[in-house]
Symmetry: C2
Subunit: 461 residues, 2 copies
């Protein structure tokens, strides 16, 4: 066992046997010790996220900190299964040739530089976001295209060339989702829930006022993100002056749209239609995805042999399911509200501007412990909003900022959003890279929204 | 779409819109229509079991026949996850070299013929069964050895040589588990539950009386099964006179036990110990398996790259989880008890011997609809036992026979036992082969236990 691995075990043991802080149960503390040890293990690269998660899971069950039923509950969560199915469908998009075609069309238009590709991906995301109330589903649409873009530019995981282009594009698209979700009231599942919770404080937010409030900071973040990642997490291929011409030739070479591309395209459009209609007919999004997977299996675009090579998706299901279960149990056991109340106590007596800054920053960083954006909103949004209003922070300003923060902090950990999980599952990005560069993007987002966004909101809304 | 596939859809639609039988809800009838269509699709090979299951799943959710929460519930069942983890650990047993070594030791001793190997596998199973109260866990022990036996004899799935030897050995071991579970009170999780339910009818069954009652029919089945499968599902390699000598040389070539074999062996023994102790300390068996998996990942016997090639395990989790959820919802919706009560009505007025035969045979074949042996026992054992006693069937005879049937009917479908699922996941056996040859073995078992077993039980117990 390596020194780092040994260190994580010692760290976990010391926490486990440390005195339990006032206001927490022993069980909550024990679960926290395990959870934070897993996260530490991933950050310092003692273990991969899968290994750390299964070891943490077995400890939590064998010590009776978690009941098996609670611990395994994540595996049957609809939104987690959606990630897994989206994964398999993405393989179909690539295999059918449709992914290649769309990728070449994008390269033909924007492909002169890696940076140009980065911007074009986020622009596409922004454009489709208002019609996608699930950022998981949206990442399921974007991911296969980004994946094809990378693979067709000669950057693949299997041959060790992930850093040529793919890693950068994946990281950029993942970062893009944090801001495309903040841009529109309907771009993330929890946004309307937050609006409803704000209404209970007398704060009225509409689709229009949300869009207006989000406009400037989101635009700035849009301009900044691809460029910043290009500097700190650069692709090895930077300029690709010949790429548009090559793409054009490849498209000519591909000829007319093939039968499998039509089937894949039709399946995809049918899925999108059902997803958009899902709130009206009460369709479960994951069941729609399973139906789409069934369709491409009937037409042999995706086969059982293909499935046999998708073990990575199983790994994703397992580690994400485990972390989700642990995080929601931490919430049930009162750990999250305990943390929230400590923050409330802490801000008493400061000026409203300081309280505002502290609350938003704390809200952003607490996401370290949450595996679901929706869960964080449900657990903490009202608490934080109430504390702030009591301390004199303008209600609407704080409400908007916390709503945006629920989205723009999503990249702080690999498990911070189910969209991240899809990108990570590709193998192009390592989890410790998310902790690092996702952390930097979260800082960048926080700075942009907090500084420019605050003045903008006060001025225009 | 092929004719067979079209036929399944028409079959499902006709059932769906048929008048609902008295005593059933519309929902139960709709779920039954979907469930039986999936099974039909697999039997006639219209779809593979994975494809049929995901299409059935999406229909059942999109038509609101099942709620997503119910439909996905199977994915977080501890015993289903145990199958998946056992699968990954089996890969570790092979990779470490330990599987090879054990396989060569068996070949050296019994390897002169494929039939000899078949007998030696079931004998080993019988021998360890009383200490394994979970047949899933037991199949997790046997499977990697059978897998190594097959692979090291040059019979592999990947190169199309599964029928040389592997398919026969897998089918034989799967059949062996149906009778090793019937042999001992402690060889299957539901056996003690059944004994307890029998006690409520005043029937006293002990470990000793169970063993005595099971002895003769199990012995006969043990003699018959490898030979019958050898005739109806023959391996292409029949005589292997040189195999023991080759195995001996290979063992010499392997030299001393390697470090990874020690680690794997130690991990395995530790897992077995924790499994055996699990009832005392309340350890969840699956958590123990996750810990074992963690251990072989820390020691790099099983790596994330290995995991990436285990997509088949994901497929298994999905189809088995779906069928399990559907089957247990059919039970909750009263379908199973409705079926049971129709059988009760049917047997009124017959002589006790006829009632006995009808009840046992019905109990065996109803397993077609059950995905869990335990679920069938909980749903139907008491009903059937009560009906029989009322009709004058000797209570102890019927109780024993239903308890044995709970085990010996397990091979009637691919999903009839979680042990089957592990073997199927290997790819050596196709699901439609289980319907055929597993069906024949179930008939054979029924004949042996019902004819010889009945006289034996009446004579000795």
């Amino acid at each position: 066992m390596k020194a780092k691995q040994f260190f994580v075990f010692i760290f976990g043991l010391v926490l486990w046997f440390s005195p339990v802080p006032d206001g927490l149960t022993l069980q909550a503390w024990h679960l926290f010790s395990i959870f934070i040890s897993i996260i530490l293990a991933v950050i310092i690269q003692a273990f991969p996220i899968f290994t750390a998660s299964i070891i943490g899971l077995s400890f939590s069950i064998l010590t009776h900190t978690l009941e098996p039923k609670e611990a395994y509950g994540g595996f049957s969560q609809s939104f987690i299964l959606l990630i897994i199915v989206a994964f398999l469908i993405a393989r179909g998009v690539i295999k059918s040739g449709l992914g290649k075609r769309i990728a070449f069309l994008i390269i033909k238009r924007f492909g002169k530089s890696s940076l140009g590709l980065g911007y074009s991906i986020i622009a596409a995301d922004m454009f489709i976001a208002p019609a996608f109330p699930s950022n998981t589903a949206r990442s399921g649409v974007l991911f296969p295209i980004v994946n094809a873009l990378a693979a067709d530019s000669g950057s693949k995981v299997a041959d060790g060339t992930r850093k040529k282009l793919g890693a950068y594009l994946m990281m950029t698209s993942m970062a893009g989702i944090t801001i495309s979700s903040a841009m529109w009231l309907t771009a993330m599942a929890a946004n309307p829930a937050g609006v409803k919770m704000a209404a209970e404080f007398g704060i009225n937010i509409t689709f229009g006022s949300w869009t207006l409030a989000a406009f400037l900071p989101t635009l700035l973040a849009f301009v900044a993100i691809p460029w910043v990642l290009f500097k700190i997490f650069p692709p090895q291929i930077k300029q690709t002056p010949d790429a548009p011409e090559i793409a054009k030739k490849e498209l000519e070479h591909m000829g007319g749209v093939h039968k499998n591309e039509y089937i894949m395209g039709f399946t995809f459009i049918a899925m999108l239609t059902l997803w958009v209609l899902s709130p009206i007919f009460g369709f479960d999004k994951t069941a729609v995805a399973f139906l789409g997977l069934g369709a491409i299996m009937i037409s042999k675009i995706f086969t059982l042999d293909d499935l046999a090579h998708e073990g990575r998706a199983l790994g994703t299901l397992i580690w994400f399911g485990i972390l989700y279960s642990m995080s929601s149990e931490l919430n049930h056991l009162g750990f999250m509200s305990w943390l929230g109340s400590h923050i409330s106590d802490f801000v008493v007596g400061y000026s409203w501007i300081n309280v505002y800054l502290m609350l938003v920053i704390a809200y952003v960083f607490i996401h370290y412990f949450f595996v679901s954006q929706t869960a964080q909103m449900l657990a903490l949004f009202s608490v934080f909003l109430g504390v702030g209003i009591d301390a004199g922070v303008p209600a609407q300003l704080l409400a908007f900022m916390l709503l945006f923060a629920t989205n723009f902090n999503a990249m702080i950990t690999p498990q911070g959003s189910s969209a991240n999980v899809i990108y990570l599952g590709s193998g192009y990005i390592k989890s410790n890279e998310v902790y690092k560069f996702g952390g930097i993007i979260t800082l960048l987002n926080t700075l942009i929204y907090l500084v420019f966004g605050s003045f903008w909101i006060v001025a225009v809304v």
